[in-house]
């Protein structure tokens, strides 16, 4: 090709890219007039530009390494390894003999050299160890299953790895599988019933932990010589099958099942076969099938050809067991057939229901048995207090900070003009409200919100001289501020920028004004008319116009950078702004999906649009926040990571990454990222908040304090940094300083409900219950919220009005059903309210399950670990309670709340000396003695001299 030709192609290609997609055709037709080949060439390049996506965005070395990794995974086969393993040591296990093998891998008998006990080691099939996604999933599930502690569930001790293979170390169960037993024909009815009962108990326990077995079958049920049943492979079933990230598991399960061996189809529930979502009732169906087989010696659907078998399960009714075995009692037949009902809603709805029909004794007596000895020490109910102290901000900080500063750094591109405009306050506190949309197309509202957000962010960056403070739009949205008056009340602003946006054909008219919120008087106003297809122009002109109104001047040399938008594609920018707008109202979950859609569209137009990747990461993170599905965390991290690779010099990319790392417990890395943000953008409040929070989690309290103080010095009239600092003081036990800071917050933001519930919490800790109650009621009056309700419940609870506290806690749980602490509090209130006491256990179980979910995402959260320990102690699972408590305390040894939890956990388990030791520590570290006195848990020790002594010596 001639060089001239190539440069012609390039010129046209670049020129076309700068145009809106819709305008390209006309442009090329005109520019290539008469040269069709030229036009085709440019068009094909444009088309490939769109398709290129991530093409070449992964460095070559990574691709080569990936390929190598793939190659190296052609390791010796399972059989070869099995041979080798037979005389080997794996971790601290000495392999003794091979016990068996199957779909779930090979099992060996081994000896735990450390503990001197025999265990079973199960090595997973090769396919697992190759796919990191499966591995990760496997770990998570196995970990969840390992939390199950029940005499009828085979205990998982450890999940380990040997030469790149995963193994599970578990309880070695001597005996035979039910499948082996059944080869000899039906079992005596009594034995069949007894085994079913034990399986039912195990299922009940697992289901309470939200763990569904999914593959219950005779081969997974071990029966010991003494008749004790142990269920294997809990929760692992869905993992064995090939898992595509997005495909429903059961659907895939079916695919493999149909094509290959019969496997477990005979016991699968109809909905499972249809690939529909499966819940605990599928396990009850499977139990029905197992019971059928034990009673009759054959499966409910004896067909052996898979396709026909599936059809039978879906459409035909099993023969009544009594037709096959006349010894089966009529009641048992009823149980079996009810369990095997095709529609889940027609089956038993819980294992307990089934157990009742099988004639099993009630839960309470069953459960008391295993721990009877320990529990006997203190009669009856023991537990901790409802005190849930507060939510004061713990955990809120990082979520609140989620809103990223998603605007390219502009730093000092404007200089502050020496007092230009008249009538403006000397210390300007500005809120930018979303421009109202007149008429307009779908998405215009979101666009207008996004525009306000970037406008506020750019004005913030311009205002390096600190004479102007701009409230982040995300904060306005979080407080539902829509009017100038509200902005003044909640954020104490003295200026508001507001406006409207009106479409007329392909033009947009924007009018905007600077308003004094105390009088609603317009101080200055402007009207612009621009092409609707030019969002860059819209933003640039509004930024420049409002900067002028505020007395900020733009230096011409830096104009280019001020006007940088991170992309050159108008469509991409427009979508990006819309996405930001949607995300502001993330509380409506459909908005998160819309935001994701907008950012993805932006990236489709411009795959190098770094800010859009960072924003997409944020949207995924929000999605995780609402769905609590950890798959979104992965996506969020991926997106932020990609943003950093694209442009590490953009503050937003590091902020994005920092927030994800912090949110997943990688605080040291998070600190690095936040510091990078501050290098690029030294006034970013978000980065200060994130940095200090991470420092706090690494127990660098002085550093965290200094970081907050720096943030305050940058924005002395912005309430949020005071609040963060207060939370820090609160968490490290300096309650008086905390209260002082919280009080400042209520002064700076008198309409902020958080300010009041935080102050209420601090007052409570200082023993000022009356004030606390008042502050909390003010908080609820401003805005009904779960935190204040829960804390109000806590205060009332400590005042001994248990029944009244139930109402507050129930309100809290309604507003925030996924917060473990709120459920734990409710459990406390139920426990001490005689008419509700029976509901307590369920509330604690729910709380424990939610805490475990949270720990899956952030395994080093000492708060969650402590909560979990408490709930476990409450349901008498002391083994795990101690473990989790120990871990929590080693992570946060100075956390007063944890010390108190420690006192309660030991108290509940009957270890008085340890309990009082922790109680002493908690009191010495500032835990309010009043709260201890009021905590009904201690009633049993009321007359105990040691306890009395402690209470007496701590009088504050």
């Amino acid at each position: 090709m001639e060089p001239e030709r190539w440069s012609k192609i390039e010129g046209l290609y670049q020129a076309a890219l700068e145009r809106d997609k819709s305008a390209r055709d006309a442009f090329l037709a005109n520019a290539c007039a008469g040269d069709d080949a030229l036009r085709r060439e440019v068009e094909s390049l444009l088309a490939h530009d769109e398709q290129a996506g991530n093409f070449l965005e992964t460095p070559a070395i990574e691709i080569a390494a990936e390929a190598l990794a793939l190659e190296n995974s052609d390791l010796p086969s399972a059989a070869e390894r099995g041979q080798r393993l037979a005389q080997t040591t794996v971790s601290h296990y000495r392999i003794r003999e091979k016990l068996g093998g199957g779909g779930m891998g090979v099992v060996y008998k081994a000896e735990d050299a450390a503990l001197g006990r025999s265990v079973a080691l199960k090595f997973l099939p090769d396919e697992f160890s190759r796919d990191p996604r499966k591995l990760e999933r496997f770990r998570r599930e196995a970990w969840a299953a390992s939390s199950l502690n029940h005499p009828n569930i085979c205990t998982i001790y450890e999940i380990g790895e040997h030469e790149g293979r995963l193994f599970i170390a578990m309880e070695l169960v001597e005996g035979q599988t039910l499948a082996e037993k059944l080869k000899a024909g039906p079992l005596p009815i009594e034995e069949a019933t007894d085994i079913s009962r034990q399986i039912g108990e195990a299922l009940e326990e697992a289901h309470e932990h939200n763990i569904v077995h999914r593959d219950l079958k005779p081969a997974n049920v071990m029966v010991t010589p003494k008749g004790r049943v142990k269920i294997l492979d809990f929760g692992l079933a869905k993992l064995v099958r090939p898992v595509e990230p997005d495909a429903p598991t059961e659907e895939i399960a079916l695919k493999t099942q149909v094509g290959t061996v019969m496997g477990t189809v005979p016991y699968m529930a109809p909905e499972q076969l249809r690939g529909e979502p499966v819940d605990t009732r599928a396990d009850l169906y499977a139990l029905g099938g197992v019971l059928y087989e034990m009673a009759t010696g054959q499966r409910p659907f004896p067909e052996t050809q898979t396709n026909r078998l599936i059809a039978d399960i879906l459409t035909t009714l099993p023969r009544p067991p009594r037709e096959l075995n006349s010894q089966v009692p009529a009641e048992l037949e009823t149980v079996v057939l009810k369990a095997l009902t095709k529609e889940p809603s027609g089956r038993y709805q819980s294992a307990r229901e089934l157990l009742v029909d099988l004639g099993a004794p009630s839960t309470a007596t069953q459960r008391a048995l295993p721990t009877a000895r320990k529990v006997a020490l203190h009669p009856a109910p023991v537990r901790r207090t409802a005190m849930i102290l507060l939510v004061v901000g713990i955990g809120l900080a990082i979520l609140a900070s989620l809103v990223l500063f998603l605007v390219p750094a502009v730093r000092r591109h404007f200089i502050t003009a020496p007092s230009v405009s008249q009538g403006l306050p000397s210390k300007k506190q500005l809120a930018v409200l979303p421009f109202s949309v007149i008429g307009g197309a779908p998405g215009d509202n979101a666009f207008s919100r996004g525009l306000a957000e970037t406008l506020a962010a750019k004005l913030t960056q311009i205002s390096a001289g600190h004479s102007l403070q701009v409230v982040p739009v995300s904060d306005l949205a979080a407080q539902h501020v829509e009017t100038a008056r509200q902005a003044q009340k909640v954020f104490g602003v003295n200026l508001v920028l507001t406006g409207s946006l009106e479409r007329a054909g392909d033009r947009v008219r924007i009018s905007y004004a600077l308003v004094d919120p105390s009088t609603d008087r317009q101080l200055n106003a402007k009207i612009l008319t621009l092409a609707a297809s030019d969002p860059f122009g819209i933003e640039d002109q509004v930024v420049e116009g409002s900067a002028g109104m505020l007395g900020l001047a733009v230096q011409s040399a830096q104009r280019r950078e001020v006007e940088s938008h991170g992309t050159q594609a108008a469509d991409a920018f427009q979508e990006y702004l819309k996405g930001l707008g949607y995300l502001q109202n993330y509380e409506r979950t459909e908005n998160i999906d819309k935001a994701i859609g907008s950012f993805q569209s932006a990236l489709k137009v411009d795959s190098t649009y770094t800010l859009a990747y960072a924003a997409l990461g944020q949207a995924y993170w929000r999605k995780y926040g609402t769905t609590e599905n950890t798959a979104w965390v992965d996506r969020a991290q991926e997106s932020c990571g990609h943003a950093v690779t694209l442009n590490p010099k953009l503050a937003a990319t590091h902020l994005c990454l920092g927030i994800m790392e912090s949110g997943t417990g990688q605080y040291a890395q998070a600190i690095g990222e936040f510091k990078k943000v501050l290098d690029i953008e030294p006034t970013s409040t978000f980065a200060y908040e994130g940095l200090a929070d991470a420092q706090y989690h690494l127990k660098k309290f002085r550093e965290a304090e200094a970081t907050y103080r720096r943030a305050i010095s940058i924005r002395p009239n912005y309430w949020a940094p005071y609040n963060w600092l207060a939370v820090l003081y609160f968490n490290i036990g300096d309650t008086e300083k905390a209260a002082e800071m919280f009080r400042k917050v209520t002064k700076l933001a008198p309409e902020n409900h958080q300010a009041f519930y935080n102050l209420g919490a601090a007052d409570f800790m200082l023993g000022q219950w009356h004030e606390a109650e008042e502050m909390l009621k003010r908080s609820v009056a401003i805005h009904p919220n779960a935190t204040a309700y829960s804390n109000l419940g806590t205060v009332i609870f400590y005042e001994g009005r248990f029944q009244q506290s139930v109402g507050y806690f129930e309100k809290a749980v309604q507003l925030k059903p996924k917060d473990p602490m709120l459920w734990g509090n409710l459990g406390d209130a139920y426990k001490w309210t005689p008419s509700d006491a029976s509901k307590a256990r369920a509330a604690y179980l729910k709380a424990a399950a939610l805490a475990r979910d949270g720990l899956r995402v952030n395994p080093s959260s000492s708060g969650l670990l402590g909560d979990l320990a408490l709930y476990e102690a409450h349901i008498s699972d002391f083994k795990h309670a101690m473990q989790h408590l120990g871990k929590a305390l080693s992570l946060s040894p100075k956390d007063v709340q944890l010390m108190y939890y420690g006192a309660i956990v030991y108290h509940l388990s009957g270890q008085k000396t340890q309990s009082l030791h922790y109680l002493r520590k908690a009191l010495n570290s500032g835990y309010p003695v009043q709260a201890v006195r009021a905590d009904p848990e201690w009633r049993v020790l009321k007359n105990d001299p040691a306890f009395q002594g402690l209470i007496a010596t701590n009088k504050h």
């Binding site: 090709m1 490939h48 530009d49 070559a60 080569a64 390929a67 190759r130 990191p132 991926e638 442009n647």
Partner: protein
């Protein structure tokens, strides 16, 4: 303590190669391969929670370990970047060629159909095709070809690439975008993975 290709070794070898010492590349290759294996191993291992993020971090770390610009007497950072990317390209492409021929079995057995399909789609063959296409691009537009070499093989950022080519980041972005479109077309459809 790992004693292994130090950044210093690699930097000196790169320098020697840049100065015309052809053998330096042969000595450099094993060091790069070693890193490649370490990287591959870590890709396979369990510490890899999130694919992209971790991979990116690992790759960056690898580069950092390999080349420490502060230890070298490069009068010209730009020159160093260029040499580094060129060496990386040659070594990786050589590596891929050698793997490919081993895999193909050196005439021992005809490939089974399934395996042949896998090979055609493998990242290896893509890298080789890309190398060829990049040579063709160089004939048309030297600078764009170098942008790709620096970014894709050298792992450089847009800014560093601009520095190496003594041009502006905007130009690099424009070149990169067009070169990607062109190469994408040259390599046929469905190249999103590479």
């Amino acid at each position: 303590m790992r004693r292994a290709p130090t950044a210093h070794d690699v930097t000196l070898l790169l320098q020697a190669w840049g100065d015309g010492d052809k053998e330096a590349l042969d000595r450099l290759a094993p060091l790069i391969y070693r890193e490649l294996h370490i990287l591959a191993k870590r890709f396979m291992s369990r510490e890899r929670r999130d694919h992209t993020l971790q991979a990116t971090a690992l790759v960056n770390e690898t580069y950092l370990r390999l080349v420490d610009i502060h230890q070298a007497n490069w009068q010209d950072r730009a020159h160093f970047f260029a040499i580094c990317a060129r060496a990386m390209r040659q070594i990786l492409v050589d590596h891929v060629r050698s793997r490919g021929s081993i895999k193909r079995g050196g005439g021992q057995q005809p490939l089974q159909l399934e395996e042949a399909l896998v090979m055609a789609e493998s990242p290896y063959s893509k890298l080789l095709e890309l190398d060829d296409a990049l040579n063709r691009l160089a004939a048309l537009d030297q600078r764009k070809s170098r942008v790709v070499e620096l970014r894709f093989f050298g792992g450089l950022s847009v800014e560093e690439t601009a520095e190496a080519l003594k041009t502006s980041p905007e130009t690099v972005m424009r070149d990169w975008k067009m070169a990607k479109a062109w190469l994408h077309r040259e390599l046929g459809d469905n190249q999103n993975g590479a």
